[in-house]
Amino acid sequence: MNLSYLFDAAHWDLSAPGGFPQLILAHLGYVALALLIGTVIALPVGLWIGHTGRGSFIAINSGNAGRSLPTLGLLMLMVTLLGLGLTPVLIALTVLVIPPILTSAYAGMRSLDHRVVDAAKGMGMRPWQVLFKVEVPMALPVLMSGFRSAALQVVATATVAAAVGLSGLGRLLIDGLAVNDYSRVLAGAIVVAVLAVLLDLLLALVQRWIVSPGLSGRAQPRSRRATT
């Protein structure tokens, strides 16, 4: 295993085109935009289905249906249709992140203890108060786990953008492969994996911060933690 490419200082120059900083930036840009658009679309739909119980069929099955769409094929289709640019990548990656977010939003809402919701109603909360003050906060742990798995997946998959002439860390894989430079491919794989781990840690911190201590079990003695 040859790490020379990874540790070559010239590749870490901020201004070097094709250097790590620029590739990481482009990569994170794809990931962030895809997650943002995916969340904006999937979260309300998932919450609504979970809240009302209407259309559960869609929520349950869209997960696997979305996952089964091959990202590479979708990307190549979009580039063939729309030409080079950011749009095709975003479409392909957004399709990838919608299912886990939608499914987990739904599952989070469904897993709620109905007694709590009834109690909230009994206290005189309005429907939107029940939703945002009780249901959503309680669904957060499940929701966040779906969001984290979406993030993990999209970080690894965003590399396919390079296969259609776009940027991101996939460039290291595709270019390294094309010129038979394994050191570069290895560097790309390592940076992607590290990026994924860091992002997951960051999201874990966010989760700790936004999920109520009463739910995550931190306010309870260790032995009584929920297994989910």
């Binding site: 295993m1 696997n64 249906a65 996952r67 089964s68 769409l69 091959p70 990202t71 590479l72 094929g73 979708l74 190549m76 289709l77 580039v79 063939t80 249709l81 499914t103 987990s104 599952a107 469904r110 897993s111 499940v142 993990l152 997946q153 970080v155 690894a156 998959t157 590399t159 396919v160 296969a163 259609v164 860390l169 996939g170 894989l173 595709i174 390294g176 492969l177 394994y182 491919v185 290895l186 790309g188 794989a189 992607v192 994996a193 994924a196 781990v197 997951d200 297994t227 989910t228």
Partner: protein, 218 residues
């Protein structure tokens, strides 16, 4: 579209056949390997967190990188389909061992205790009680792994072995939509069919789940 299919049915069928093989063999191997690994994560509680973390990291390695690197590690030929099979097996194991561990951990202690009280020893209790109870969770994980494997195989086309993915690269090199669309449709249908088969197996082997609604299969 129809014309493309009739002119190229041999190419398409060969691609489909390779796709099925490359996607499902890893599922089979991965499932068998994950059961003991997942069990270890339950049997030895200290092992659970490292297991989850290692699986997370493995799952975040880009598939293309894995396809390219395995020949270096395994000494296989660079175009050997074995590279794809091993890479997808790694993803399957990464996904399933965690699910197996989670499934087994979620078994109600009361159930385990009752079984123990009835005289079940550890191995028989595991096989006859805990595993069947954990099955819905494990099979839900298997569905995810199967479907994502079927979608991942196509990435192999970037190095010349990718089942239906070859239709993508072929179409892409000519800016020709038909093969790409046919590839996507077949890939989705294949995933749907595989998913359905697992659901049917799940129904057959967990008849009790039909009586208690919402058995926790998210």
């Amino acid at each position: 579209m129809i014309q493309y299919l009739s002119n190229n049915h041999e190419v398409v069928l060969a691609a489909l056949r390779q796709h099925i093989y490359l996607a499902l063999l890893p599922i089979l191997i991965g499932f068998v390997v994950s059961l003991p690994i997942g069990y270890l994560g339950v049997r030895f509680p200290w092992f659970y967190h490292p297991l989850v973390n290692v699986c997370g990291v493995l799952y975040s390695i880009p598939s293309l990188a894995l396809f390219v690197f395995l020949p270096v590690i395994l000494g296989t030929k660079i175009l050997a389909p074995a590279n794809i099979v091993v890479a997808l097996t790694i993803y399957t194991v990464a996904l399933l061992s965690r699910t197996v561990a989670d499934g087994l951990r979620a078994v109600d202690p009361i159930v385990t205790q009752s079984a123990t009280a009835m005289g079940y020893r550890r191995t028989r209790r595991l096989l006859d009680v805990e595993l069947p109870v954990a099955l819905p969770v494990i099979l839900a994980g298997l569905r995810v792994a199967t479907v994502s494997n079927i979608s991942l195989v196509s990435v192999g086309a970037l190095i010349g072995i990718g089942g239906l993915g070859q239709l993508f690269t072929r179409g892409f090199q000519l800016f020709y939509l038909e093969p790409i669309i046919i590839g996507i449709i077949l890939s989705v249908l294949l995933a749907g069919l595989a998913d359905l088969i697992i659901v049917l197996i799940q129904r057959a082997v967990t008849p009790w789940a039909r009586f208690q609604r919402g058995g926790g299969t998210a």
